[in-house]
C-alpha cells in the first residue's frame, strides 16, 4: 500500500516537473543569466548610437570642456610637497598678509596683475579691474578660469589662509581638487584635466572598447573553429601539430608579448589593435572545439550521416556545428571578455590608440594624472563602471551559456 502511495506521489511529481517542458516558450535559451548579461552588454553597445542623439560627442575632444585643475593659488591647494611654492604664492597674494581683514581692503589692479605673474594672457576681463574693488582678489583665485568662478567665490568667503592651514593639509588639498571638474548639470559626469567631458568620453569610448573585443574574438573564434574541426575530425599528424602549437601558445603570457608588439608598433587604429589581440585569441576555442569534436565524432547521428555518404564538410558544419552552438557561444563571450581585458590592459599602460578616446586610455590618463589620490573619482570611476558592466554582462552570458550547454550545471536548488 505504501508503495502505491509513493508511486502516485512520484508520478505526480514527475508530471509537475515535466509540465513546463511542454510550454513552447520554455527554451533553454531563455536562461535568465544569459538574458540579463545580454541586455547589459547591449546597453553599453547602444550607448554610442543612442547617446549621440542626446549629447554632443564632440565634447570628448581635448580642451572642449573646462579643465578640472585648480590654479596653484586656490585656497587649500597646500600639500606637504609644494609648501614652499605655495608660501611664495601666498606672499604675493594681497589676502595672505597677517590680518585677514586686509583681504577686504580694495585691491588695486596692480596687485592683481602681480598675482598673474604679469602674464597678460592669464588675465581675464574680470581681473583687469573693470569690476568693483573687492572682486579682483576673488576672481584671481580662479586663475582666470571662468567656469570655476562660482565655486571659488564661495570658498573665498571663508576666512582665508590661517584657518585652512590648521586643518589636515592633504585632506584640504583633496577637497579643493574635488571641487574642480566635479559633475555639474552642464557636465553630468564631470570633466578631466585635458578638458574632456566624461559623459561624451563614455559615449564615444565604451562602444569602441566593446568593438575591439568583438572583432578580436570573432577572428580568434573563426581560426579556432577551423583548426579545432580540422584537428578533431581529421586526427593524425594534423591533430598533433595543431594541439601542440595551441598548447604552447596558451601558456605564453599574452599580455606581456602584446606589450612588446605594442611598444614597437605604435597602435593608431582600433582595427589594428583588434588584429593584434586576435594573435592570442585562437588557442582557447581551438582546444575546446577539438575536444567537443572528438566526443561527438562517435555519436550515433554523426556515424549515421557518415554511412549515408555525407561529405566531411556537411558532417562538420551541418551535423556537428549546430549541436555545439552553446559551447561555441560560451567560448565566444569568454573570449570577447578576455580580448577587452587585454585591450584595456595595453591601453592602461599607455599603448593604445591615443587619438581616439577609449575606456582604457581614459584610465591611463587618470592614473598618470594621479586622479586616485586627488580624489577625482569620476575620472577613473566612469570608465571602470562601464567596463565592469561589460565584463559582468559577458560573464553572466558565459555562465548562462554554460548552463544551456550543460544541463547538469543548472542545478536543483543551487540556481543562484
Amino acid at each position: 500500500m505504501t508503495t502505491t502511495v509513493q508511486s502516485v506521489s512520484t508520478e505526480a511529481q514527475l508530471r509537475a516537473r515535466k509540465k513546463p517542458r511542454f510550454n513552447r516558450w520554455d527554451s533553454p535559451w531563455l536562461n535568465p543569466k544569459f538574458l540579463i548579461g545580454l541586455s547589459m552588454v547591449l546597453f553599453v553597445m547602444l550607448l554610442g548610437p543612442i547617446g549621440q542623439l542626446f549629447w554632443d560627442t564632440r565634447l570628448a575632444l581635448p580642451a572642449s570642456s573646462p579643465l578640472n585643475l585648480p590654479p596653484p593659488w586656490a585656497p587649500g591647494f597646500t600639500s606637504e610637497s609644494d609648501k614652499p611654492a605655495v608660501q611664495q604664492l601666498e606672499a604675493l597674494r594681497p589676502r595672505a598678509t597677517a590680518t585677514p581683514v586686509a583681504a577686504e581692503a580694495p585691491a588695486t589692479p596692480a596687485v592683481s596683475r602681480s598675482i598673474t605673474g604679469g602674464n597678460p594672457f592669464a588675465r581675464t576681463p574680470a581681473a583687469t579691474g573693470a569690476q568693483p574693488a573687492a572682486t579682483p582678489a576673488r576672481s584671481s583665485l580662479t586663475g582666470g578660469n571662468p567656469f570655476a568662478t562660482p565655486r571659488a567665490t564661495e570658498s573665498a568667503a571663508v576666512p582665508p589662509t590661517t584657518g585652512q592651514t590648521q586643518q589636515p593639509r592633504q585632506a584640504v588639498g583633496a577637497a579643493a581638487y574635488a571641487r574642480f571638474g566635479t559633475p555639474t548639470w552642464a557636465h553630468p559626469l564631470g570633466t578631466e584635466s585635458s578638458g574632456r567631458d566624461m559623459l561624451a568620453v563614455l559615449l564615444v569610448g565604451a562602444p569602441r572598447s566593446l568593438r575591439i573585443g568583438l572583432i578580436a574574438a570573432s577572428i580568434g573564434m573563426a581560426i579556432g573553429v577551423i583548426l579545432g574541426f580540422t584537428a578533431g575530425y581529421l586526427g593524425g599528424w594534423a591533430d598533433s601539430v595543431i594541439r601542440t602549437i595551441s598548447d604552447a601558445v596558451i601558456v605564453i603570457p599574452a599580455l606581456a608579448v602584446l606589450i612588446v608588439i605594442g611598444a614597437y608598433v605604435k597602435v593608431l587604429q582600433i582595427e589594428n589593435m583588434a588584429l593584434l589581440l586576435a594573435l592570442f585569441a585562437w588557442p582557447g576555442p581551438t582546444r575546446l572545439i577539438r575536444a567537443q569534436v572528438l566526443s561527438m565524432r562517435e555519436r550515433g547521428y554523426v556515424q549515421m550521416a557518415r554511412i549515408s555518404g555525407a561529405s566531411s564538410f556537411h558532417i562538420m558544419f551541418l551535423e556537428m556545428m549546430p549541436n555545439m552552438l552553446p559551447y561555441i557561444a560560451a567560448s565566444f563571450t569568454g573570449n570577447v571578455s578576455a580580448a577587452i581585458l587585454a585591450a584595456t590592459g595595453l591601453e592602461v599602460l599607455g599603448l593604445g590608440p591615443t587619438r581616439i578616446p577609449t575606456l582604457g586610455m581614459t584610465i591611463y590618463y587618470a592614473i598618470s594624472a594621479a586622479a586616485i589620490l586627488r580624489g577625482m573619482w569620476w575620472w577613473w570611476g566612469v570608465p571602470i563602471v562601464a567596463l565592469v558592466i561589460v565584463f559582468s554582462g559577458l560573464f553572466l552570458m558565459t555562465v548562462g551559456l554554460d548552463e544551456i550547454a550543460n544541463p547538469r550545471l543548472r542545478g536543483r536548488k543551487v540556481t543562484a
Binding site: 601558456v251 606581456a256 606589450i259 573619482w377 559582468s392
Partner: protein, 336 residues
C-alpha cells in the same frame, strides 16, 4: 609514482622548450617587422621621446656589432636565441651600464612572492567556495552569501586595485597606496621591515585574490555537481562517514584535478594581470619595471622582461605538469 614515466617527462620538457622557443621567436621577429634598422629605430624613438642622447652614433655601432646586424638573419636569430638561453639579455638602453638580467633579478622576488601567495590563497579559497556552492549540506545563508562574493569575479585585477586604493588608501587611510615597503627602512630580516612589507602587500594581494577567486569557484562548482552524483559518494554516505570527511576526501579530492589543469593554463593570464596590478600599486616587481621600460622606450629591457616572463610561466607550468601525476594516480599519460 603512478604515471610519471620517462615518456611523459620528455614530452612535457619538449612542450616547455617549444613554448619558450615560440615566445622568443615572436620577440625576435616583431622588431624586425618594423621598417629600417631596429637599433637605429630604437635610438631614434628614444631621442624623440627623451631628447638628445650622447654618443648616439657609437651606441648604434656597438649595438650593431652586438646584434651582428651586418650578418644574414639566420645568424642573428641563432645568436639571439643563444644569448637568451644563457640569460644574456644585454644592457638596458635607458640605464646604460646596468644589465637587464640584473634589473630583472632585483625585481623578480617581489613579483614571485606576491603572485605565489595571492594565487595560492585565491586557489584554495575559490575552490572551497565553489565546492560549498554545490554541496547539498551547505547552510542556506552561506549559499546566498557566496554568489555575492563572486560578483567581483568579472572585475579585472587592476580595476579592483584602483577601487581598493581609493577606498583603503585615499579615503580611509588604513593602508599605503604604493611601493613595497616604507621609506627609510633598511631591507633585511628585521621586524619593522617585514611588517611594512606585509602591510604594503595587503592591497595588491587582495586585488588579485578577490578578482580571481570566482573563476576557481565556478569551475569547482561544475565539477562538484558532477562528482556529487557518483556512486562512491552514496557509498560513503551509506558507510556513515562524517560529512566533513565525505566533503573533503571524497568530493573535493575528486573534483580538484581539472582545477589544477586550469591553473596551469591560466598562469599566463595571471602573470599578465599581475603586471598591471604592480603598475597600479607601483609595486617594485617585474610589472612595474616593464612599465618603466615602456615609458623610457627601453626596448632591450622590455624584451628581456617579456622573455623572463615567458620563461618563468613555462617553467611553472612544467612544474605543475610534473606534479600532476602525483595527485592523480589514475591517469597514465598515453595521449599526452
Amino acid at each position: 609514482m603512478g604515471g610519471l614515466t620517462w615518456n611523459y617527462v620528455l614530452k612535457r620538457v619538449g612542450m616547455w622548450f617549444l613554448t619558450i622557443w615560440l615566445g622568443t621567436t615572436i620577440i625576435f621577429i616583431v622588431p624586425r617587422l618594423a621598417p629600417g634598422d631596429p637599433v637605429a629605430a630604437m635610438i631614434g624613438r628614444m631621442t624623440a621621446q627623451s631628447g638628445y642622447i650622447e654618443n648616439a652614433a657609437q651606441i648604434i655601432e656597438a649595438w650593431r656589432a652586438r646584434f651582428g646586424l651586418d650578418q644574414p638573419w639566420h645568424v642573428q636569430y641563432l645568436r639571439y636565441i643563444g644569448n637568451s638561453l644563457r640569460f644574456d639579455l644585454g644592457y638596458s638602453l635607458a640605464n646604460f651600464p646596468s644589465r637587464v638580467e640584473d634589473m630583472v633579478m632585483q625585481a623578480l622576488p617581489w613579483t614571485v612572492g606576491l603572485l605565489l601567495v595571492s594565487t595560492l590563497i585565491s586557489f584554495l579559497v575559490g575552490n572551497t567556495i565553489g565546492a560549498l556552492m554545490a554541496w547539498e549540506r551547505t547552510p542556506g545563508w552561506i549559499r546566498n552569501l557566496l554568489p555575492v562574493s563572486l560578483t567581483f569575479t568579472s572585475i579585472p585585477f587592476f580595476m579592483l586595485g584602483i577601487l581598493l586604493i581609493y577606498v583603503f588608501a585615499f579615503w580611509l587611510r588604513w593602508l599605503p597606496a604604493s611601493g613595497a615597503f616604507g621609506r627609510g627602512l633598511t631591507a633585511g630580516f628585521n621586524w619593522p621591515f617585514i611588517a611594512s612589507v606585509i602591510q604594503h602587500a595587503i592591497l595588491p594581494a587582495t586585488a588579485i585574490v578577490i578578482s580571481s577567486m570566482g573563476f576557481w569557484a565556478l569551475g569547482m562548482r561544475g565539477m562538484m555537481i558532477t562528482t556529487a552524483g557518483e556512486d562512491y559518494m552514496i557509498l560513503a554516505q551509506a558507510k556513515g562517514l562524517k560529512p566533513s570527511r565525505i566533503f573533503w576526501m571524497y568530493g573535493v579530492r575528486n573534483s580538484i584535478l581539472p582545477q589544477v589543469t586550469a591553473l596551469a593554463l591560466s598562469l599566463g593570464g595571471i602573470v599578465g594581470g599581475a603586471v598591471l596590478v604592480e603598475y597600479i600599486f607601483a609595486y617594485p616587481g617585474v610589472g612595474y619595471l616593464l612599465y618603466q621600460g615602456i615609458v623610457t622606450s627601453d626596448y632591450t629591457l622590455i624584451q628581456g622582461i617579456v622573455f623572463m616572463l615567458v620563461f618563468t610561466t613555462a617553467t611553472l607550468v612544467l612544474i605543475l605538469d610534473l606534479l600532476y601525476p602525483l595527485i592523480d594516480p589514475r591517469i597514465t599519460y598515453e595521449r599526452g
